[in-house]
Symmetry: none
Subunit: 231 residues, 2 copies
């Protein structure tokens, strides 16, 4: 089944559409192992690199996944639905509660696994947050979220980092409103009470319990404000 001899569009496009059709039309169900690159190249009448690029495009779209030494497998038959929209629709307190769960456990892992690079990133994010305390509300919240994202990233689990990134926009919205309401009060604390610096320090010395405790206290105080603000 050679693809068009004359080329109305790049061969990669044609190959991609051809393979995508096989998948979406159920010819290759989820879990199927696709034919090898050489086989596909022969079947489609194109070069191996063209086949590889077509497969890579489908991988980018989330339809297939290549496993080195094993093969290319179908992992979905259609592009999937949209989780962020559900988050925006949910109650901010529910979102925040899940954030507390994810982040407190993440810092426990971070205390055990953080690398030198992680610590450097944390220091930078901490300093940026302190600088942003002088700026406007949105910038401060962004810097705050960036610091918390760096904490989660230090756990060394990409799924966890992605999960937190998913929550970030929803958090941002709610937190900006909160900061506006509370003003500068929550931004500056007396020396020794700056929880974020203490949190990073706990992660640095690998004290999971302390990190968990500090973060939980901080987040639950904010959660209380969120509850209060609604009631």
């Amino acid at each position: 089944m050679p693809l068009g001899a004359l080329r109305p569009s790049p061969l990669v496009e044609q190959a991609t559409q051809h393979l995508r059709a096989q998948i979406t039309q159920g010819e290759w169900p989820v879990g199927t192992r696709l034919p090898g690159e050489n086989a596909l190249a022969r079947t489609l009448g194109v070069g191996r690199s063209t086949v590889r690029e077509a497969l890579r495009a489908l991988a980018g779209a989330g339809l297939v996944q290549a496993r080195q030494g094993s093969g290319v497998f179908v992992i979905a038959t259609e592009p999937a639905e949209d989780w962020p929209a559900r988050l925006r629709r949910a109650a901010i307190t529910d979102v925040y509660e899940v954030r507390v769960i994810v982040e407190t456990q993440a810092v426990r892992l971070a205390a055990a696994r953080r690398t030198g690079e992680d610590l450097a990133a944390l220091d930078a994010a901490l300093e940026a947050r302190e600088r942003a305390a002088e700026g406007d509300d949105a910038a401060f919240v962004d810097a705050d979220i960036a610091l918390h994202a760096a904490l989660v990233a230090a756990a060394g689990n990409p799924v966890l980092a992605d999960l937190f990134a998913e929550f970030a926009p929803a958090l941002r919205e709610g937190l900006i409103g909160l900061v506006e309401m509370l003003g500068l009060r929550a931004r500056h604390r007396a020396p020794g009470q700056e929880t974020h610096a203490a949190l990073v320090a706990a992660v640095r010395r690998g004290d999971a319990g302390a990190a968990d405790g500090i973060l939980r206290a901080e987040l639950e105080e904010t959660l209380a404000h969120l509850h209060g603000g609604r009631a």
Copy 2:
């Protein structure tokens, strides 16, 4: 800026992530023409084919578009990338680790908040799981996941429930493989060791600590098997 000399993941993946970051973080706004393939190859320290495949993956994800003879252009900065697809692509051990975090904290909440309806649903799910222990692997895994979903639902946080539902398909795949490997061994336990019944009982009497402990032991044993299965 050469990419990692040692390869924890395929170079194409690293290159894709690197380029995606440049786009999503606003370094290259919509409409930007990316550096040429050769330039990117030099910058990233990889071959041109590798760069091409990375760009093709981003094109498949809808972030860039290549125009022959002209260049590659950014057409979107939002990773239209859906979360479930990322889960399927991630390492099963990373996914499972996050699942442990979510579920153990969820049962803590469940122990505090479960309603009568929640308990009835848990009993039903528990019984269904025991019945399914006789059936085939897929059915058993489905019943097992349904029980765990009921536990999470008892926490009374819809965001948490949605989150677990998002993980279910990815878990299902990995767990079926595991059950096939271990056979019936893990299904039946001596009376008094059936962790799921004990878990539901702990939730019923509102003992968050016990529920957390039982579940954590159960899940981490499975996680160890997953780690072992790969090594």
